[in-house]
């Protein structure tokens, strides 16, 4: 049983690989029907699958591939010529074969899957040289001499065993039965192995393939090993009355799970079934993922080491050991970086894996649409991370379908426009820094910005005002809006207004950027720019007040420093002018509910973010720098928080949150310009006060004597006192945020910044609106008092005062805050 599952697993992995190659070869074959080399290769693929499936008792599949093989064999011997009609039949049968393989993967057997008689009949007709459409379906499907000719150990035996009725047997009888079945299995296996060897010799036409099969390193770390084995529990529960249909060579449940992993593994194996045999070893993807995680930890460790090294350097400048430390640190960081790249490479797959399916798709589409379309692929060797390869397929399918349907014109139209009959779609991949760029171009009718706007208005995707403000490029991006379609009628191929929305969503998921360019009647070019890997990324670290956030560098287009005057408000939203564009702005503090304690600065930084087709400027307080970060999940508890993609651990061991750019853009839409900030619930802003020393009062006076007097007056209260020597000093202490002040005693006449200015400054900050400011001064005129009230002081104590009086005022005021 184990062996069977392992073989089945191998069979599926291998078959899927072979088929992928097959599709491409066949389309190529259509263009060069005389290419014997190619034909031979295709023949061998069909033959290999047939051989393997017959060992595994997949009768239906065997029959199908056998007939396919017949056709190809005749073509190989130049007895028939492959016309497009014959190709259609062959391609359909390959699709059928794929369907069968999927069916086997999911069900462990090919019995009961789709009927193949019709296609078999067509294949027969083709190989007999009859025209395709004269074919009728023969009535008796079962006994086919061709299939029987293949080495098939005992295709029917399993069927009969199933019918044995176990329910009436006693325990002993069951034991015997199990014994018998096991023995039978072993013999079966033996026979099968023998048959396999025999087949290797009996098929002289395709010795290479058989060799390849044998030479291929057996995938030792097969997931099958880790799965609970189906037969084991059966043996343990032997005394139980019904050992179920275990001994049947096609177990239904067990292979299902394992087989479903096959396609995931298949692409990792790197084009094993191709023309040239690569030196490859199959590794479970989970092992690579684990390796990647470990490297992630290492990168964090490296970052930390570098930070410590910097600190040490500062502190022990000129010491001898520093040089040594420096060397070690740089070696470690160099090796870590190399290691990271090396591991990343193990996960890299050529994008050709995805591109491979398009020649076939274009062929089918062009026949369906009655257009002549040629596909030009370049850069298929460009590599990118496996997880991205898996995600990129769908968007590309949608874009290419769109190009075929809407882009490329019909033959007459093209001729009328003076273009060549055949339209060309270009698919090109190349590296650009840390990104891979995929360009899809077609030389069709191009996009008309005005028409797009009109359609968008008629479909209520945008309103007229928005349309007026749109540039051409923005108008092109309309095609990515959900519900938008330029097609007048919904066809099989496209027109539902869904596809391009899928493109956008998927590319956003990959932190990619979409760029469209087009000229009417000349071309449309869609450019997808995607980061190479997802696990370890470059990020821009920005600061908002006291908090730091990491923005994936892949989404950062540029950073600019602007003066606050350059921020305009349009329809309640902040915008700025960036060269010839109007860029919507949002403050990161508003997105993440950071209390804006101090922002008096005239200049501010704007990080321009681009994702898929949209752009936004994010205002931040500081730019910290660029750093390599490892994305860590925040666990189930905090998963999927709006605007947060995850967290990372910084060099200092602290946690920094990673901004989810797509979500941020969504959130930005709901944020009005400079909203009135409510009293935010800052981290630890309000802590319960249980004893007097929890209350903090600041004493601001330039005279030490005065401060001492205040201190001695307030000491009996037991509150914590913090002293400041003037307005500037006081403001700094306040901003430092070390203490949460409950009241401030402020002298009016002070150097640098006087009490009035200080009070005015403090009251600028929302956070301190309710902080009681108490003037303590020798200025006694009414005008002075008035001024104090104007700037927001709640009490006005004139010097000299009695200690009790001061104490009572302070007590009253801090109690007052508690109630509020």
């Amino acid at each position: 049983m184990d062996e069977f599952q392992e073989i089945l697993q191998d069979f599926l992995v291998e078959s899927f690989e072979l088929i992928e190659q097959l599709d491409q070869d066949l389309v190529e074959l259509e263009n060069t029907p005389e290419d014997l080399e190619l034909l031979n290769r295709i023949f061998r693929v069909a033959h290999t699958i047939k051989g393997a499936s017959s060992f595994l008792n997949f009768d239906v599949l065997t029959r199908l591939t056998h007939h396919m093989e017949d056709v190809l064999n005749r073509a190989r011997k130049a007895e028939i010529i492959l016309t497009p009609d014959i190709m259609d039949v062959v391609l359909t049968s390959i699709d059928m074969m794929k369907a069968k393989l999927y069916f086997i993967r999911d069900n462990g057997t090919d019995e009961g899957s789709e009927d193949i008689e019709e296609i078999v009949a067509k294949l027969d007709a083709v190989s007999d040289g009859k025209p395709v459409d004269e074919v009728s379906v023969p009535e008796t499907p079962k006994e086919e001499p061709a299939a029987a000719a293949e080495p098939e150990p005992e295709p029917v035996a399993s069927e009969s065993e199933e019918d044995v009725d176990y329910s009436d047997m006693s325990e002993n009888e069951i034991e015997d039965e199990i014994e018998r079945l096991l023995k039978m299995r072993q013999e079966e296996d033996k026979a099968r192995r023998a048959a396999k060897i025999a087949a290797g010799e009996a098929v002289p036409e395709a010795p290479q393939i058989v060799d390849e099969e044998k030479d291929e390193p057996k995938p030792a770390p097969e997931p099958a090993k880790e799965e609970p084995k189906a037969p084991e529990p059966k043996q343990e529960s032997a005394p139980a009355p019904k050992p179920a249909p275990t001994p049947k060579p096609t177990p239904a449940a067990a292979p299902k799970k394992e087989a479903s992993k096959a396609p995931a593994k298949a692409p990792a194996a790197g084009g094993g079934g191709g023309a040239s045999v690569e030196q490859t070893i199959r590794v479970d993807v989970r092992r690579l993922d684990h390796l990647m995680n470990l490297i992630g930890e290492l990168v964090l460790g490296k970052n930390r080491l570098i930070k410590i090294n910097d600190d040490v350097e500062e502190r022990y400048e000129g010491e001898e050991f520093l040089e040594e430390l420096n060397q070690v640190v740089s070696i470690v960081s160099l090796v870590t970086t190399d290691l990271q790249i090396a591991v990343m490479k193990t996960r890299m797959l050529p994008i050709g894996k995805v591109f491979n399916k398009f020649p076939r798709m274009i062929r089918d589409l062009s026949r369906e649409l009655g257009k002549k379309i040629e596909l030009e692929i370049s850069g298929e060797d460009t590599e990118l991370d496996k997880s991205i390869v898996e995600e990129i397929g769908d968007p590309l399918v949608h874009i290419i379908r769109n190009s075929c349907d809407h882009g490329i014109e019909g033959i007459e139209d093209r001729v009328a426009k003076g273009k060549s009959e055949t339209g060309t779609i270009g698919l090109k991949a190349y590296n650009e820094g840390n990104h891979i760029v995929i360009e899809i171009t077609d030389d069709g009718k191009g996009l008309n910005a005005d028409t797009l706007k009109d359609i968008a208005i008629s479909k209520n995707v945008i309103n007229e005002k928005e349309a007026d403000n749109m540039g051409d490029k923005e108008a092109f991006t309309l095609i990515f809006r959900p519900g938008f379609s330029t097609a007048k009628t919904v066809t099989n191929v496209s027109g539902r207004g869904v596809g391009m929305d899928v493109v956008k969503t998927n590319i956003e998921k990959l932190n990619g950027i979409i760029d469209i360019d087009s000229e009417i009647d000349k071309y449309t070019k869609i450019k997808l720019k995607i980061p190479l890997t997802l696990a370890i990324i470059q990020a821009l670290l920005v600061g908002v007040q006291e908090e730091y956030y990491a923005i994936p560098l892949a989404s950062v287009l540029e950073t600019v420093r602007i003066s606050t005057d350059e921020i305009y408000t349009v329809e309640n939203r902040s915008v700025m002018r960036l060269r010839d564009e109007v860029l919507p702005l949002v403050h990161l503090a508003d997105i993440f509910e950071v209390d804006r304690v101090f922002d008096g600065s005239e200049h501010t930084y704007v990080v321009v973010l681009g994702l898929a087709e949209s752009k936004i400027g994010v205002i931040v307080d500081t730019l910290v720098g660029q750093e390599e970060i490892v994305i860590k999940s925040m666990g189930e508890y905090l998963k999927g928080m709006d605007g947060i993609a995850g967290a990372t651990i910084r060099g200092d061991g602290g946690v920094t949150l990673i901004v989810d750019v797509a979500a941020l853009m969504q959130m930005a839409k709901d944020i009005k310009a400079r909203p009135a900030i409510g009293q935010g619930v800052g981290g630890g802003a309000a802590k319960a006060k249980t004893k007097p020393s929890d209350y903090v009062v600041m004493l601001v006076d330039d005279s030490k004597t005065d401060r001492s007097i205040m201190r001695s007056a307030l000491t009996p209260l037991g509150v914590t006192l913090v002293e400041a020597t003037d307005g500037v000093d006081a403001l700094n202490i306040l901003k430092a945020g070390e203490h949460q002040f409950d009241a401030m005693l402020i002298d009016i006449e002070m150097p640098r910044m006087d009490g009035y200015s200080l009070a005015a400054e403090i009251k600028k900050y929302n956070r301190y609106k309710n902080l009681p400011l108490i003037a303590v001064t020798s200025r006694t005129t009414k005008a002075d008092r008035m001024r104090g009230v104007e700037v927001g002081m709640v009490e006005y104590i004139t010097k000299p005062y009695s200690p009790e009086y001061l104490m009572n005022v302070v007590k009253r005021n801090i109690n007052l805050t508690m109630e509020a």
Binding site: A240, P241, L300, G643
Partner: protein
């Protein structure tokens, strides 16, 4: 399924349920701690570790009792203030404050408590289910333990680790 298998399974279950056989498991080990004025306990096996307070990073868009996340030897773990979670006044952290890192399955979170008390061994027979008023799906109280002159509230770690926002 046939009767024979059923018989065997039944027998096995009977063994498991038999109180005499499971005598060793009769005692529950709990760790007690104080939040506000009350003493709570959690089963010792749900505790991954107990650490002294370290720095944490605020996470936006969360209720106030979620203080943020902190770095526990390379893992990013949420930090929840039990005072706030239980609707008590916030308090300043002091020398006795601890983070209890609890886990249930794959879920892990740190909880801020005022101070630890002790490890307690309690007979299962001395544990009553949560009072009617405090039971139900959402309740964080798993049961009430009686020990001499005091009553211990046993918290349901699963519920504590459930995200309820």
């Amino acid at each position: 399924m046939s009767d024979k298998i059923k018989n065997i399974i039944d027998k096995q279950q009977q063994q498991q349920n038999d109180p005499e056989v499971t005598d060793i498991d009769d005692v529950m080990q709990l760790v007690g701690f104080v939040v506000g004025d009350e003493e709570y306990t959690v089963p010792i096996l749900t505790i991954q570790e107990i650490i002294k307070p370290i720095e944490y990073t605020r996470v936006p868009q969360t209720p106030d009792y979620v203080l943020g996340v902190f770095n526990l030897r390379g893992s990013v773990i949420p930090l929840i203030d039990l005072r706030l979670k239980f609707g008590l006044e916030p308090a300043k952290q002091n020398d006795e404050t601890r983070y209890i890192v609890m886990k249930s399955g794959d879920e892990v979170a740190g909880f801020v408590i005022d101070r630890l008390t002790e490890a307690i061994r309690l007979k299962k027979s001395n544990i009553d289910p949560a009072p009617e008023t405090a039971s139900g799906e959402k309740s964080v109280i798993d049961g009430v333990g009686k020990q001499e002159d005091r009553i211990l509230t046993i918290l349901k770690v699963d519920t504590l680790l459930d995200r309820d926002f």
